[in-house]
Amino acid sequence: MEMLIALVIGVLTAGGVFLALRGQTFPVVLGLTLLSYAVNLFLFVMGRLAIGVPPVISDAASAYTDPLPQALVLTAIVISFGMTAFVIVLAIKSRAELGNDHVDGLQREEDRNA
């Protein structure tokens, strides 16, 4: 299972990196979203994998998984949500100001198809 999770994180990172390196804002935003999935998962599994032992204290529970990474990931999710929202709006703003959706604001004919 650990191998599978590592693979998942790797694929998400690879996909995120590839898209983050694209020239237009939209795929970059998608890439950043994928990257945030990857890193959130990564941070989460730093508490190691455990099934059926959520950190909710109850008499019935026999064990609990590490709650701290979960709290950290929650914070990270919220922060990356705010960041994503900001960068999305910035992408729109940049299109409005620069006239196209290239990250460097290049004037290219094929960019203006909408």
């Binding site: 650990e2 998984t65 929650l74």
Partner: protein, 950 residues
């Protein structure tokens, strides 16, 4: 502190001079003169000390731990230079008053001059080497200002920059040299340095420090090959040239040679470096001076030559040579300053300095001509004038040390040649300008200058004469203390006199005089030959090439690196991360996998993971079909939530699910304003390169995850599990961490969210976007903006969703949930209303709940607006002030408390202050999310929307 104040006075005076310049043109000059006198007065009480054989050192702590103190020293050498600086300074002040024209700013000139004077004084009175360097650099800066005084002139700007660059180079080198010297000695105080001469000379760092210091000296004194800036500095007003480029600043270099003479001299390195450079400069300057058509150019190269002479003298390392050096410093200052002033008068009155046009001025200004002729004769080394005396000593010393040199005759021959050249250019100066026919095409008809403009020249020329005739009565005591200050040792036996009998030096002088006359006679063919050949060699060309090279290389490198491409930046960051992350593993010996056994793989997980991977790849593959990519990334988010659920993180799953949908809504909003299809990649190579780094990055993170997951670890988690209920009053440990153990993180996190909302509002201000009236295939949008069935049924969902939100909020402390998720649910419930019923409809209905806008601008439309600022403000306030409450009880910020209330009917009810904190989180989330989405959703309203109707 008198020395300190003597130095400080001109600096303060600089401001004063600038201020009084508003009162009138002469005021600055008077003020400058007063400042100079004041500085002299500060020195007056100590004036006698060097003559009495005592040394004055005044010290004041500045950075004692670093050995950098304010320390001043008055010895013979310092006294001599201080006298030169202030005395000639006074004359320059007077001269400049008449030299500067109506258009020139007096205040600025004198202000700069005072700055320069203070800097020079600082150099010569410094006891601390670093402090000396500080003033040294200040002379570079103030001379930059003075040279560029006529800033509208290209050559002034260029000359100033050149001087600054070259002397700046020297200054930086000298800093290094002094640091090394201080390192060797263990102190920057001159007294300690003088005491450690042998230590220094035997130290392995002697040569580097010597080289660095000499670099400073040579650049400042315009020694070959750094000489080229000096002629270009002649673009300065002539008083500046007279002061800086003859009497003072360029002398700073030779001053330093004299100053460090006891510590550094006496080694072969010193001898060869210093005297070699001096000799080269001596010859070069004298040679080029002969061919300069510009009056000031001639004097500039002559100055070079004389500086070379002095340098050569110090290089010879004999005590007597040093005395001669000091003597020539004095003499050169007097005759050269007067010559510059004379040249300035000529320029001033005739309107040109070109010796091809200036002829026969004797007829127009005989008095000035007489003064100039005396000074020029001193420069040539004619007997009865001061120049002759020091040049005699120089010739004598050259003979003295000639045994070191090739065959014993080379050095005497070369210095005699230099002497002859000096005679030749001096003759030229006189003959060409004052005689040699009639003037050619002068801008003005020349006449004698105003009375007071001549006075400074007269004073100096008189000095040349009296020193030359009666040295023992005049200059001898000063020379003695100055030489003593230089050597820091008993003086050698020497005798100042006009007549030393028939000795080699006298012959050399005679040969030089005769040879000079001959050379001047042969000037035409020589000039022709020079202009054909050597004239084209110009160090300035090298300097310019270097500078252009620097700028060109800088531009090239900078443009090569900084292309303004985001892609490159991201690429570099990733590459850097890869290198940094991988490097430790390359050390070898480290196994990637650890010893921990993992969980078995189950088919459902496999299916989910496979889906996620395929969805990710599909997102990448289909990213140009943006809508499709949006859907596939939705799958990724869904599976990520599933993973959270699977591995015991219900809170995370809930959060991820809620965030996911809001993100999709956001992306859809973005998609509306962005192109829905993207152009295909223009450079396939880039895709391959990016693919490669993506694979590496993916592999890297996978390996990192794998490495950690297969290793056991000890964690502080146990504490949270144990203390969550008794300490935090909640059984959902994740939530208790969020609102209590690490509530501070959460406070930060909601601030981020609030900032995102506010930042977006600020960013969208005044933004206008045309709304596309068709989709990317050219199809007109559907006419039905708010389908009835959707609108009706989603309305039913609203109370239901709010109920769920309250549920999630309240239980969060004990069960999965909490303020953040509840906030998102609330937001989503409201967003659905926006989706289904439109912004205006929804706004109208939300306005009744929170307070309407207060204080609308006059131009505001009377349209109801839902403003989520209060929600954010309240939310942050609740969270921040909940934490503050604990202060009242003497606990740190964010300390929580909880208790069980027993209510009638309801029963026991737990209340925790952390829940209030969570409520703050809730409010911020709702406010920020709505703020973001609603502002973004309303963008197109900025322009009237033209939708084609069916």
């Amino acid at each position: 502190m008198t020395l300190f104040f003597a130095v400080l006075t001109p600096f303060v005076g600089a401001a004063l001079v600038a201020l009084v310049s508003r009162l009138g043109r002469s005021h600055s000059a008077w003020a400058a003169g007063a400042v100079t006198l004041a500085s002299l007065l500060w020195l007056a009480p100590s004036w006698h000390l060097p003559f009495a054989g005592s040394l004055l050192v005044q010290q004041h702590d500045w950075m004692p731990a670093l050995g950098l103190n304010l320390a001043f020293r008055l010895d013979g050498l310092g006294l001599l230079f201080a006298g030169l600086i202030l005395g000639i300074g006074l004359l320059i002040v007077l001269y400049a008053r008449y030299y500067l024209s109506e258009r020139d700013s007096m205040g600025r000139f004198y202000s700069y001059l005072m700055l320069f004077m203070g800097s020079m004084l600082g150099i010569v009175l410094s006891e601390n080497l670093i402090q000396l360097l500080i003033f040294w650099e200040l002379t570079s800066l103030s001379s930059f200002l003075l040279i560029s005084y006529w800033q509208h002139r290209e050559e002034a700007r260029e000359g100033a920059r050149m001087a600054l660059a070259v002397t700046g180079l020297g200054g930086f080198a000298m800093l290094g040299g002094f640091l090394l010297l201080g390192h060797i000695v263990g102190s920057y105080e001159l007294s300690d340095v003088f005491a450690s001469g042998d230590l220094i000379r035997e130290h392995p760092l002697y040569l580097p420090s010597l080289l660095l210091i000499l670099l400073g000296v040579f650049t400042k004194s315009a020694q070959f090959p750094f000489h080229f800036w000096l002629p270009h500095a002649m673009a300065a007003p002539t008083p500046v040239s007279a002061y800086l480029h003859s009497a003072t600043m360029v002398k700073a270099g030779v001053f330093l040679l004299a100053r460090l003479y006891p510590a550094l001299s006496g080694t072969p390195e010193w001898f060869w470096l210093v005297s070699g450079t001096g000799l080269a400069t001596l010859l070069l300057g004298a040679y080029v001076a002969l061919f300069k058509h510009d009056l000031k150019g001639l004097l500039a190269y002559s100055t070079l030559s004389h500086l070379g002479l002095i340098t050569l003298l110090f290089g010879l390392s004999t005590p007597l040579a040093a005395v001669a050096g000091v003597f020539h410093i004095i003499n050169h200052a007097t005759f050269k300053a007067s010559l510059f002033m004379a040249a300035g008068i000529i320029d001033h009155e005739a309107g040109t300095r070109d010796m091809r046009r200036l002829h026969g001025l004797w007829a127009f200004m005989p008095y000035t001509a007489t003064l100039a002729m005396v000074a020029a004769a001193a420069m040539a080394g004619v007997p009865l004038l001061n120049g002759f005396l020091s040049k005699e000593m120089f010739f004598a010393e050259a003979m003295e040390v000639s045994e070191y040199l090739l065959g014993g005759w080379l050095l005497p021959a070369l210095v005699t040649l230099a002497g002859a050249l000096a005679v030749a250019y001096s003759i030229r100066f006189i003959h060409d300008v004052f005689f040699n026919g009639a003037p050619v095409d002068l801008p003005h008809t020349p006449h004698e200058p105003p009375r007071w403009m001549k006075v400074p020249v007269e004073v100096l020329v008189v000095l040349c004469l009296v020193v030359g005739i009666a040295p023992t009565l005049t200059v001898a005591p000063l020379l003695a203390v100055a030489a003593q200050g230089t050597l820091q040792a008993p003086l050698p036996e020497y005798h100042l006199a006009l007549w030393h009998g028939f000795n080699p030096a006298l012959f050399m002088s005679l040969i030089a005089l005769a040879g000079g006359a001959l050379i001047y006679r042969a000037r035409r063919p020589l000039t022709a030959w020079h202009e054909r050949t050597l004239d084209r060699l110009d160090a300035r060309v090298v300097y310019n090439a270097l500078l252009d090279g620097l700028v060109g290389a800088s531009r090239f490198v900078t443009r090569l690196i900084d292309t303004g491409s985001l892609q490159r930046q991201v690429f570099l960051l990733l590459a850097a991360a890869l290198v940094l992350g991988v490097a430790p593993w390359l050390a070898g010996g480290a196994a990637l996998a650890g010893s921990r056994t993992g969980l078995p793989l189950d088919p459902v997980s496999f299916v989910a993971a496979a889906t996620l991977i395929v969805a990710t790849l599909a997102t990448v593959w289909l990213h140009r079909q943006r809508f499709v990519a949006l859907v596939t990334i939705g799958v990724v988010g869904l599976v990520v939530s599933l993973i959270f659920i699977k591995f015991s993180a219900p809170d995370l799953a809930l959060t991820q699910l809620s965030v996911e949908v809001v993100t999709i809504v956001l992306l859809l909003l973005a998609l509306y304003f962005l192109p829905q299809q993207a152009a295909s990649e223009r450079e396939p190579a880039r895709a391959w390169r990016d693919g490669a780094i993506a694979l590496l990055a993916g592999g890297g993170t996978a390996a990192l995850a794998w490495a950690v997951l297969t290793r056991p670890y000890d964690t502080i988690a146990g504490y949270y599990l144990e203390n969550s209920v008794p300490g935090g009053g909640g059984s959902n440990v994740v939530n208790v961490i969020l609102v209590d153990f690490r509530g501070y993180d959460t406070l930060g996190e909601i601030t981020v969210l609030a900032l995102a909302g506010l930042g977006i509002v600020a960013m969208l201000q005044g933004m206008k976007l045309p709304a596309p009236s068709r989709d990317d295939t050219g199809r007109v949008w559907d006419a039905d903006a708010h389908p009835t069935i959707m609108a009706t049924l989603t309305r039913i969902l609203l109370p239901l969703a709010l109920l769920v939100a309250v549920f999630i909020l309240l239980r969060g402390h004990n069960q999965p949930g909490g303020g953040f998720i509840a906030g998102l649910i609330t937001s989503v419930a409201l967003i659905v209303q926006y989706l289904a019923n439109g912004a205006q409809w929804t706004h109208q209905r939300m306005v009744s709940a929170p307070s309407p806008q207060m204080g609308e601008g006059a131009n505001a439309e009377p349209k109801p607006v839902y403003d989520s600022h209060p929600l954010i403000a309240w939310g942050l306030a609740v969270a921040a002030f909940t934490g503050l409450g604990s202060w009242l009880f003497g606990y740190p910020y964010l300390t929580s408390t909880y208790g069980h209330l027993r209510w009638p009917v309801v029963g026991e009810f737990e209340l925790a202050s952390a829940m209030a904190f969570d409520f703050g989180v809730f409010l911020v989330v709702v406010g920020a999310t709505l703020m973001i989405l609603v502002n973004l959703g309303g963008l197109h309203h900025a322009l009237p929307k033209h939708r084609e109707k069916h």
